[in-house]
Symmetry: C2
Subunit: 346 residues, 2 copies
């Protein structure tokens, strides 16, 4: 089966999926009988190309590398903005990989709603729209009869959502908690090695883990967006960010880390969502001192992890990358393959 | 859709799936549009019942609890042995949950082959047949057009195989290693707390983790069977047990454990399979001193874990139960739901 993809956003993640598709096109045809053809790319800074017959991805990667711009692409139509690309391209699947805005959800939210209204499946790695409006998006997609997938919004390509929805749902997930922000985890790991909070943050910034304004990470807002996605899409919650207590790691001192270590414990920023007595869903983000025999305590550096508490299996933990271009790009491929499976079931 | 199940083996695992089906029948109909009806049960010690209209599972559980025997079941036909049950019952899916024999694979191997020849799907938790003859079984199932699923042969209900086949395959798994025997891991954990090997083994036996003859666990043979299943069904290997170096934990002393601890390391029995240079598959089972920042080092007690090494995601680790009646019973439900999905795709 052939799918035509429109790629909205050509940042680190967009380039990741382009690289994977460049490498894997033949092997995907052999293994999954699926031909993935990118016919449109639109990025607000790097430019846009539309070619209904399929874009040469190798040329795109070379242009991005050399010029950080795809305007010189040979062939295709140039200059379509994201909404024109979504509306007028021949894509079956829109890949939404623009930057996350957890306050407005834009521009991703409008991109996704427009895609759905135009009968196009959506795959996204953008946390903003899903944390703000997952119910609206999923309901509307179901009404229209298109699929919406968002594995890459949590733990990048680590298939934490797929594991839960496809393998643990029948075991009844009653809670989920974990480390969903690699920057905070990196900082806490470095503090345990002896750095102060400020020095560890500076190091995270130098390595590209943390932004110049690190507040979305260190104050827990990125974790907040992710736990809302987990709570609302896996546990049936309907939470918004004002209903979730959120505390980050910026007040944890070197002394706090040392004191925990002496007591056989380790600070981690933990995001939690659980079904409470009356079937309501409760969630929060806060630093916790975990005992060292908790599998999450051993998750160090920028790695992420989630533990699902289930009725029949007890705790199931998945550990893997939480960021990265190829890693998050893989989430997009994962979701396209999942949509392909679903379409074959119909 | 209705499925009729024949349950071969009513030990701890068989009782586990019976209990789950008793609890979940209505919820499975609602969530998956699937009606699971057990029409036959055959156990070499506890007796057998066949009722083409469906067996009352509550009555079965009560009889097993009270009499360890189902001969007094009210209704149905009694006395069918396992092969007659497989051949002549109206089951669509045969659930093979007899005891593992890793030398001959019997009686599970004959049960599975007979099921396949009679056009019945097979779900199993029995490691013997899969570790000895996975290629033969899977090839024959494909020829006949039935499905064979075996999630419960590795890490009980922890969906380690489902994670790999359905979510990591496109990321290219190049190796897998982990803790696949809970008894050994329990013993090593207790030794680190101060027990000798013999005392820890005795404790594992008292808790029911280890058999009176513990050699299959402590000499690594159980891990060997599991790594062969992983190597041959996930990595495309064709290994038999003579091609896999296997060393257990019986020679590890209290002093060894203490010395590792002093060096910031921890002994674990690790089973490994990997793709080597010429695309051959290599596997072994041996105790290893892991650094404490390896996620597997933090897996304590009877818990199991596997780390998949992949091209696009790096390492993905899943941690969960490795044994237990309900836990392994859940693997059977998981596999039936997976077959249901596959049948809907066709």
């Amino acid at each position: 089966m052939e799918y035509r993809l429109a790629l909205i956003g050509l940042g680190v993640v967009g380039q990741g999926i382009v690289e994977i598709l460049t490498n894997e096109r033949n092997s995907l045809q052999e293994s999954y009988d699926i031909d993935l053809k990118v016919t449109a790319i639109s990025d607000i800074r790097k430019g846009s190309v539309y070619d209904p017959e399929g874009i040469d991805l190798k040329q795109i990667l070379d242009l991005v590398k050399e010029k950080d711009c795809i305007d010189d692409y040979i062939g295709g139509v140039k200059g379509w903005d994201s909404l024109k690309t979504i509306r007028e391209s021949n894509a079956d699947i829109v890949v939404e990989a623009t930057e996350t805005d957890i306050v407005t959800g834009e521009p991703g939210l409008t991109h996704m709603l427009t895609s759905i209204e135009h009968g196009k499946h959506v795959v996204t790695t953008n946390k903003g729209p899903l944390s703000l409006a997952s119910t609206k998006l999923l309901d509307r997609a179901a009404e229209v009869g298109v699929h919406l997938r968002f594995e890459g919004t949590v733990l990048s390509g680590t298939p934490a959502l797929g594991l839960a929805t496809q393998h643990l749902a029948a075991a009844h997930i009653i809670a989920v908690h974990g480390i969903v922000n690699g920057t905070c985890n990196y900082i806490l790991t470095e503090m345990e090695k002896g750095l102060t909070y400020d020095a560890a943050l500076k190091q995270a910034q130098e390595l590209g883990y943390a932004e110049a304004d690190p507040s979305a990470d260190v104050e827990g807002l990125d974790s907040l967006a992710k736990i809302i996605i987990l709570a609302n899409t896996l546990l049936g919650g309907n939470l918004n960010k004002d209903q979730v207590d959120c505390k980050g790691i910026s007040e944890i001192s070197r002394e706090d880390v040392e004191a925990a270590k002496e007591n056989g414990r380790r600070w981690k920023l933990i995001a939690t969502a659980k079904v409470v007595n009356d079937n309501a869903i409760e969630a929060h983000v806060r630093p916790k001192k975990l005992p060292l025999d908790d599998p999450l305590a051993a998750v160090t550096g920028a790695t992420n992890a989630l533990t699902y508490e289930t009725r029949y299996l007890g705790n199931i933990t998945i550990i893997g990358p939480g960021a990265g271009g190829l890693e998050t790009g893989y989430a997009i491929l994962h979701d396209i393959l999942d949509i392909h499976k679903k379409l074959r079931e119909q």
